[in-house]
């Protein structure tokens, strides 16, 4: 019964992924032959595998610049998402009331909007004639910097898209902490911030890890947001991949970038799995 979806995934994801990896290592035969026949500037393996494609890409300093941009945008986006999600989720948990309901509604708006639309809306909002600059201009700042088409805009965009998941996940985790644990802490004399530090946060490490890893994986491989919102250089790897394929007609190099992103994402995914396993093992110790 499990076979159909697994089969589909294996056939249409697993197989192409394996073929792609093989392709990056120089195997241009078999399933890769079609793509290889159209490609420029390939590294073909005479026998066995060759790392020439990887050497080329990792030696190209524009690619390295893209890699660095991708990594730091990811890190910054994850940190901001965590900060915003924790703030909003804590407010929801500890205050309640109308303002909290408003905040919770606002923070899940991005779930309702397709990423394409969101990216477009964000870039017009922060562009040369967007809201931010218009308000600044009307307040007297005639040369307010344009955030659109910069890496900062990409960070803003990625944060915008990923906050809902963060808020939902952390809210859910925080709601799992009974009121009495918080009251007991205050009863013992702890201020609210101390209670957050000593009780709420330690009990919600797993949801935090989940938010961080999911967001990181999403941003690492993301295409639409950086494509519509980001600069023409440096690019996030998702966009570079597309350029190497469509503009330069170098699918092999494109795939190399894909594999690099995959390795990074897989590493982060491993953190998620490890955290989950550790949590279920400790479930005996920690109620």
């Amino acid at each position: 019964m499990v076979l159909p979806p697994v089969g589909v995934v294996a056939a249409f994801i697993g197989f192409p992924v394996v073929a792609a990896i093989a392709y990056t290592l120089g195997k241009t035969g078999g399933p890769n032959s079609m793509v290889a026949s159209l490609a420029q500037h390939q590294h073909v393996a005479k026998h066995g595998v060759t790392l020439a494609a990887y050497r080329e890409m990792l030696g190209d300093h524009q690619v390295l610049g893209d890699l660095w941009a991708t990594v730091w945008v990811t890190v910054v986006a994850v940190l901001i998402v965590l900060a915003m999600s924790w703030t909003i989720a804590l407010y929801l948990r500890l205050r309640g009331g109308k303002i909290a309901a408003l905040l919770s509604g606002l923070s899940v708006v991005p779930l309702f909007i397709p990423v394409v639309i969101a990216s477009y809306a964000l870039v017009t909002f922060y562009s040369v004639d967007g809201f931010v600059r218009t308000v600044a201009y009307n307040l007297g700042y005639h040369s307010f910097p344009t955030v659109g088409y910069t890496l900062t805009a990409v960070v803003i965009g990625e944060v915008w898209v990923n906050v809902p998941f963060g808020v939902l996940m952390l809210s859910s985790g925080l709601n799992g902490v009974p009121d009495s644990l918080i009251e007991a802490s205050r009863d013992a004399g702890a201020s609210l911030s101390r209670t957050v530090r000593s009780v709420l946060f330690p009990l919600n490490v797993i949801p935090t890890v989940i938010v961080a890893t999911f967001t990181a994986i999403y941003v690492l491989g993301s295409f639409t947001v950086p494509y519509l919102v980001g600069p023409s250089a440096p690019n996030l790897l998702g966009v570079s991949m597309s350029n190497y394929f469509s503009s330069f007609n170098q699918p092999q190099q494109s795939e190399v970038l894909a594999v690099i992103v995959f390795v990074l994402a897989a590493g982060i995914g491993a953190v998620y799995v490890w955290a989950n396993v550790r949590a279920s093992r400790r479930a005996g110790q920690v109620a």
Binding site: P178, S180, L181, E183, D187, S198, V286, A287
Partner: protein, 352 residues
């Protein structure tokens, strides 16, 4: 630790549109173990939470040791609460749970360790110093919660239905432990329960609550012998309740049945009468109204009889050896007379 008195002055609280606590007055003496007793919804837990600072009264004041604490947050009040669910932090060991409050006060490590170990010895849990709450039993968790509250040397100790999560046998043991510790330390304590056995057995005084007010605040004996209102009469211990009038020789019930009561010599008054089962005197053929024995329920060292006199049901406690025919005579020994819910007089009057 010098004991502190607790004063609750005209405290009221509305929740969800309903008045839960209604101008409540309570004066707990220093070092006293007071119980708030009542059915669900009577406002006892709400009152406790207002003492602890987890709810803010809509009106009235809370004073501890003469000082108005009404405006203070829980972290600033000299109270400590033992929660119904114990509320032990699952990610901290027993030691860390108890030490938490002390660490907040920035005490030196050696003093923290010494005080935690001392209090855990007091409650008998030294062997679990470094265990996690999930690994210890319910009774032990409760003692950790108690230790955590006591280690801070609060002026008032608050307990929210501390025994409700324990099984019956354990409840009796633990409540006596609590009483013993409380007396040894001499700390003013308020605890909330709906179980009258619990309340009657360990409290100095009990505040019986209903509808957000204190119906009567007295020691167990007085509550039992002279319940101030029909509610208290019916809530504490078993009670036969009837409406009727006094006849000079006893009572005439609504359906006309006359039951003699030697001590009740008043006439012409309409009352609600309360008679404890042990004050229902049953004889084979002595003085009294006619009644039939409907059922006999053996209860160990005494027997409960369910009797019918006229259209009325009476419950009586008699000795377990007593042999009675089906038709008997009943009279009343001690009767409590209530008008509009309030005790007018009891016969014989006064508590020794």
């Amino acid at each position: 630790m010098t004991a502190a008195g607790l004063n609750i002055e005209s405290v009221s609280k509305d929740l969800g549109g309903r008045t839960i606590v209604d101008s409540l007055e309570l004066e707990v003496e220093a070092g006293e173990l007071t119980c708030l007793l009542g059915p669900s919804g009577c406002g006892k837990t709400t009152t406790l939470r207002m003492i602890g600072g987890f709810l803010h009264p809509d009106a009235g004041r809370v004073l501890i040791d003469g000082q108005d604490v009404t405006g203070l947050a829980p972290e600033r009040r000299p109270t400590a609460m033992v929660f119904q669910s114990y509320a032990l932090w699952p990610h901290m060991t027993v030691f860390k749970n108890v030490a938490f409050g002390l660490r907040l006060r920035k005490l030196p490590r050696s003093e923290v360790t010494e005080r935690v170990e001392r209090i855990l010895e007091l409650v008998g849990l030294t062997h679990h110093l470094h265990s996690y709450p999930a690994r210890i039993s319910g009774g032990e968790q409760q003692r950790v919660a108690l230790a955590r509250a006591l280690v801070l040397e609060p002026k008032v100790l608050l307990l929210d239905e501390p025994l409700s999560n324990l099984d019956a046998k354990l409840r009796v043991r633990v409540r006596e432990d609590i009483r013993e510790i409380q007396q040894r330390i001499g700390i003013t304590t308020v605890f909330v329960t709906h179980d009258q056995d619990e309340a009657l057995s360990i409290s100095d005084r009990i505040a019986v609550m209903s509808g957000g007010r204190v119906e009567q605040y007295a020691a167990a004996r007085e509550l039992y012998r002279e319940p101030a209102t029909t509610f208290v009469a019916g809530f504490v211990g078993a009670m036969n309740v009837y409406t009727g009038t006094t006849t000079g020789e006893g009572i005439e019930l609504a359906d006309g049945t006359r039951i003699p009561c030697a001590e009740l010599t008043a006439t012409g008054g309409e009352f609600t009468f309360g008679v404890r089962p042990e004050d229902v005197q049953v004889t084979a053929d002595g003085r009294g109204a006619d009644a039939t024995v409907v059922r006999e329920v053996p209860r160990g060292h005494y027997k409960e009889l369910v009797l019918a006199a006229g259209e009325n049901e009476l419950r009586a406690f008699v000795g377990s050896d007593m042999r009675l025919p089906e038709r008997v005579r009943v009279s009343f020994g001690r009767v409590l007379c209530y008008r509009e819910g309030v005790l007018q007089h009891a016969t014989p009057a006064a508590v020794e």
